[in-house]
């Protein structure tokens, strides 16, 4: 089953709000598209063989077992009792994706962070493959295929 969410732009202030499934997987994916990572930062990290970990207060990203694993740190935000990020990861929810797919998504986002489309559809496909869609006809196809959502619904 595909899962979807979308980012809709507030045109006056040029910021995105997210709508769709209230799920930790979208939370950690959405962190890739926020302010915590500067343009090109994640792609540079991906290409740096010496670095296996990158993150923020909200997400931890690892090169693990030939894959990319994103960990949700949101439950630990502001909790000062943990001794290290590693101790949080033992309890954290995660989302795995292939290195190739991670790179594709980041490259796509580098385009979108400049072009700033009004709506970006985020789809998690059955095999954990992630895609970003901006073409209205493709978004319509997802609606028609039963992954329907009402973009006007708040």
């Amino acid at each position: 089953m595909k899962l979807y969410a979308f980012m809709e732009k507030n045109k006056e202030y040029d910021v995105y709000r997210s709508k769709g499934l209230n799920d930790y997987r979208f939370f950690i994916i959405l962190q890739l598209f926020g302010y915590d990572f500067r343009s090109g930062e994640l792609l540079a990290w991906l290409d740096d063989e010496k670095k296996e970990s990158i993150g923020s207060e909200w997400v931890n990203i690892e090169k693990e077992r030939g894959k990319i694993v994103l960990y949700d740190l949101s439950p630990f935000f502001g909790d000062d009792t943990y001794s290290s990020i590693n101790s949080m990861l033992e309890e954290a929810e995660s989302f795995e994706m292939s290195v190739e797919n991670f790179r594709e998504v980041l490259q796509k986002w580098e385009e979108l962070r400049t072009s700033r489309p009004d709506i970006i559809l985020i789809v998690i496909h059955e095999d954990n493959h992630l895609s970003l869609e901006i073409d209205p006809s493709v978004i319509q196809q997802y609606q028609d295929a039963g992954y329907a959502f009402d973009s006007n619904k708040k």
Binding site: A5, N10, Y13, V15, Y16, R17, S18, K19, G20, L21, N22, D23, Y24, R25, F26, F27, I28, L30, Q31, G34, Y35, D36, R38, S39, K51, E52, S53, I54, G55, S56, E57, N60, E62, E64, D72, S74, P75, F77, G78, D80, T81, Y82, S83, S84, I85, N86, S87
Partner: protein, 266 residues
């Protein structure tokens, strides 16, 4: 006589206690597996500084992590960095008092915000978290949790850290005194991921007032799907964009100048 006693005690637990200055009464409050850490200089220092239950819980977790690092034969240099990060994260009494006083002053001067709960320590004092590599042989990075304001550059002036690569915000957003920066805490502890900071020329009371006022002017709910907290993009009277994070108990757990104030400058 005293010298003899000290010499005899060296190498024993008693000797370690003398060296670290930790009392048996403190040691007895913790599980035995924590004692090796408590007998280090930093372990002893942290133990003596504890005032809250959550700090005690953290100390126990730090001690367990310390044992794990020893078991994995991590180099002493790296273990020292881990310990140093926790030492830095202890809020000194003087800073604690100032934070508490600022809260009291803020509520005294702003009756309308009596019900507003703000986790001030998160905003005003750094907390460092280490990420070890999978094999526990290296430190992958140090993450700075919280810390968005250094009142009158007091903490930087004390030598706690040095700001790196400061960039001030846009005048169009009233952010010309706010800045983004990385931090160098010394001993190789560098946080190169930039964070946003309120103006160092502002008092803590002013920061709290700006946050509280901005909450009356929410621009957009930018809470990410799945985020257990609410995140709002707000705007202050001087046009500064702020992000304010509120937890399920309706408490402000963080607030900071939005990166939007700096977007065009990077």
């Amino acid at each position: 006589m005293l010298t003899n006693l000290f010499t005899q005690a060296q190498g024993s637990v008693a000797g370690e206690m003398i060296k670290s200055g930790i009392a048996q009464t403190i040691l007895s409050q913790y599980p035995e597996q924590c004692h090796s850490f408590l007998l280090t200089d930093i372990g002893s220092k942290i133990a003596k500084s504890i005032k809250q239950d959550y700090e005690k819980k953290r100390l126990i977790n730090v001690a367990r992590q310390y044992n794990k690092l020893l078991a994995n034969q991590m180099s002493q240099e790296k273990i020292d960095i881990f310990c140093k990060c926790h030492e830095i994260s202890i809020v000194p009494d003087t800073v604690c008092s100032r934070i508490e006083q600022a809260s009291i002053n803020f509520y005294n001067n702003n009756n309308e915000y009596q019900d507003l709960k703000i986790q001030t320590k998160h905003i005003f004092y750094p907390n460092l978290k280490v990420k070890f590599n999978a094999d526990y042989q290296n430190i992958a990075r140090v993450e700075l949790n919280g810390f968005h304001h250094d009142e009158f550059a007091t903490l930087e002036g004390s030598g706690l850290f040095t700001f790196l690569n400061k960039v001030y915000g846009s005048t169009a957003f009233g952010a010309e005194e706010c800045f983004i920066a990385g931090l160098d805490f010394g001993d190789g502890i560098i946080v190169d991921k930039v964070k946003t900071f309120f103006s160092s020329n502002w008092s803590k009371e002013k920061v709290l007032e700006v946050i509280a006022n901005a909450l009356n002017n929410v621009i957009e709910d930018v809470t990410e799907l799945g985020n257990p907290n609410k995140k709002y993009l707000c705007r202050s009277a001087s046009k500064l964009f702020l992000e304010i994070i509120i937890d399920k108990n309706n408490s402000i757990i963080s607030a900071y100048p939005s990166m939007k104030n700096f977007q065009e400058l990077q």
